[in-house]
């Protein structure tokens, strides 16, 4: 296991501070498309502050599982953040096979959110939990197969094992990128769909909907209030950062080799992802619920295609 340098720690701090800002960028992009001015740039931070000052209300039917849900979720996603390389620097923690832990930490966060929703005993929340689990079960193979395809593509006979996010991030140089061929576009499209699904965005879920029959993520968190809801909102923002970081960090060799400048380029790329999410939300209608699995299976098919078609060894 290797521990990253001061730059890596600075990147985690940056992610913790800037993640809610991505939500703001998405919102402003949508507002610009609709011809509105949009909310203030710092609105997500005000919202978090307001929620944190409030008290939490707990139903008598809930148990400790309900209270643990938001905390475990935030802890798991925060830990996953430690493994995300950013701006040509390795992650804080990296070791062989860390991307498996990365994916399963996100799985743990989801498990506890779902358990907390089921713990309320509400039929609506059970329905939301059902959908969340179905969709993420279909999205997870796409992430894993994409990572496997990248590891296979970038594998170097001299240095065995590229089963680490940081190693993949470092191996994706401009030369390799140009020679990587079709793996990059196929995985990029697959991960883009996964990003939209995992962060509950259109066309899979609509973060602004409050119609019970169509909600997925929102319906699960209806009973959370005060600081608990602040944790959940913050976790959702961190997930946007995580999946965006996966997409731009592992697939595109953005950077010039100067530490500070690379960080700036990385942040700019994340803002670009947020703008793209906003554009998708503003221009595409939501899919019918039965069509969503088809989209996610399509993403998995693309990632599988990248994996099986590749003959290995760009270096």
């Amino acid at each position: 296991m290797t521990i990253g340098g001061a730059v890596s720690f600075a990147h985690v701090a940056l992610a913790l501070v800037l993640a809610p800002f991505l939500l703001s960028v998405i919102n402003r992009t949508k507002a610009a498309y609709a011809g509105r001015r949009g909310q203030p740039w710092l609105q997500p931070y005000y919202d978090l502050g307001r929620l944190l000052r409030k008290g939490a209300v707990y139903s008598r039917t809930t148990t400790w599982v309900f209270r643990a849900g938001p905390i475990v979720g935030l802890a798991a996603v925060g830990t996953a953040l430690l493994m995300l390389p950013f701006g040509r620097a390795p992650a804080v923690i990296s070791f062989q096979g860390d991307f498996i832990l990365f994916v399963y930490l996100l799985g743990t966060a989801r498990l506890f959110l779902v358990l907390a929703a089921l713990d309320t005993g509400s039929a609506f929340e059970g329905m939301g939990a059902n959908r969340e689990v179905l969709y993420s079960a279909l999205a997870e193979p796409a992430v894993m197969l994409g990572l496997a395809a990248l590891a296979k593509r970038l594998a170097d006979p001299a240095v065995p094992g590229l089963l680490s996010l940081s190693a993949l991030h470092a191996a994706m140089t401009a030369d390799v990128w140009a020679a990587a061929g079709l793996v990059v576009p196929l995985v990029a499209v697959a991960w883009w769909v996964v990003l939209l699904a995992e962060t509950s965005r259109i066309p899979v879920d609509d973060p602004t909907t409050h119609l019970e029959l169509t909600m997925i993520h929102e319906v699960m968190v209806l009973d959370h209030s005060g600081p608990d809801f602040a944790y959940i909102t913050y976790t959702a923002a961190l997930k946007v950062w995580l999946f965006g970081g996966l997409l731009v960090g592992l697939l595109f060799p953005l950077g010039v080799g100067v530490p500070g400048l690379d960080t700036l380029i990385g942040v700019a790329a994340m803002l670009g992802v947020a703008v793209a999410v906003g554009v998708v939300e503003a221009t595409i209608a939501r899919l019918q619920l039965p069509r969503v699995p088809q989209l996610l299976v399509g993403a998995t098919a693309l990632a599988a295609l990248a994996f099986v078609l590749d003959q290995g060894g760009a270096r």
Binding site: L182, Q294, V297, G298, T300, V308, Q311
Partner: protein, 225 residues
């Protein structure tokens, strides 16, 4: 060259997956037209043969049939049959995509470990598996759909795969045989168009599943009408 050929193969695979996963017949016809162009481009890019006038003529005729003539005929059939989509196929659309990926994996695996070698020097390792996959996916589409138009689409996909397989396995492309095959396919589409017209005029739909209930027994008249 190799990059372009790989891109063509991936595009070909993606078009087959769209055909397997989409319920809209109009979209399917258009995607099949694109697939015809992609197959033509792949045939010209194959490293097996020199691009001679003969090959260009064969590919050009095949592409014109696939990309222009068949879509026109099929869209006309679509209008007379007045259907837009197949709602309840024997194998669902999501399952079909997964089966498609499974077929592709099986073809690649079979090619790698089956001990099949192509007679050409420096043949692309993808060309035969992708051709075999296109054939199998076309066959699967015929089996997994009840709508007669979708079955025609499967048949044309099958033909695309056979065209590619022929080009990648044969050392020389025999002009007469290729012409014969293209003529056969052309006549098939015409005949199927006429058959479709008759089916849609006699019955309300072109779902062929209901035809198993047809019978000659006089006491069961009006079955299927």
């Amino acid at each position: 060259m190799t990059g372009l050929l790989d891109a063509a193969f991936v595009l070909l695979i993606l078009t087959t997956l769209v055909l397997l996963g989409s319920s809209r017949i109009r979209l399917g016809i258009r995607v099949l037209a694109v697939q015809g162009v992609v197959v033509g481009a792949a045939a010209l890019l194959l490293p097996n043969h020199h691009v001679t006038l003969r090959v260009v003529v064969i590919v050009l005729i095949g592409t014109i049939l696939d990309a222009v003539v068949f879509p026109i005929l099929l869209l006309r059939a679509l209008r007379t049959a007045r259907v837009e989509r197949e709602t309840d196929p024997p194998v669902g659309y999501t399952a079909s995509i997964l089966i498609g990926v499974g077929l592709l994996t099986a073809c690649l695996w079979g090619m790698k470990y089956g001990g099949i070698t192509l007679p050409h020097e420096g043949a692309n390792p993808l060309e035969l598996p992708v051709a075999a996959y296109t054939v199998l996916a076309g066959l699967f589409l015929i089996v997994a759909r009840n709508n007669a138009l979708n079955q025609i689409l499967g048949y044309l996909m099958l033909e695309n795969g056979i065209f590619l397989a022929g080009l990648s396995t044969a050392m020389e492309v025999p002009l007469l045989i290729e012409m014969g095959i293209l003529l056969d396919v052309f006549i098939m589409v015409m005949v199927m168009g006429v058959a479709l017209f008759h089916i849609s005029r006699t019955f309300d739909s072109i779902e062929v599943g209901g035809m198993t209930a047809l019978t000659d027994w006089p006491d069961q008249e009006d079955v299927g009408k």
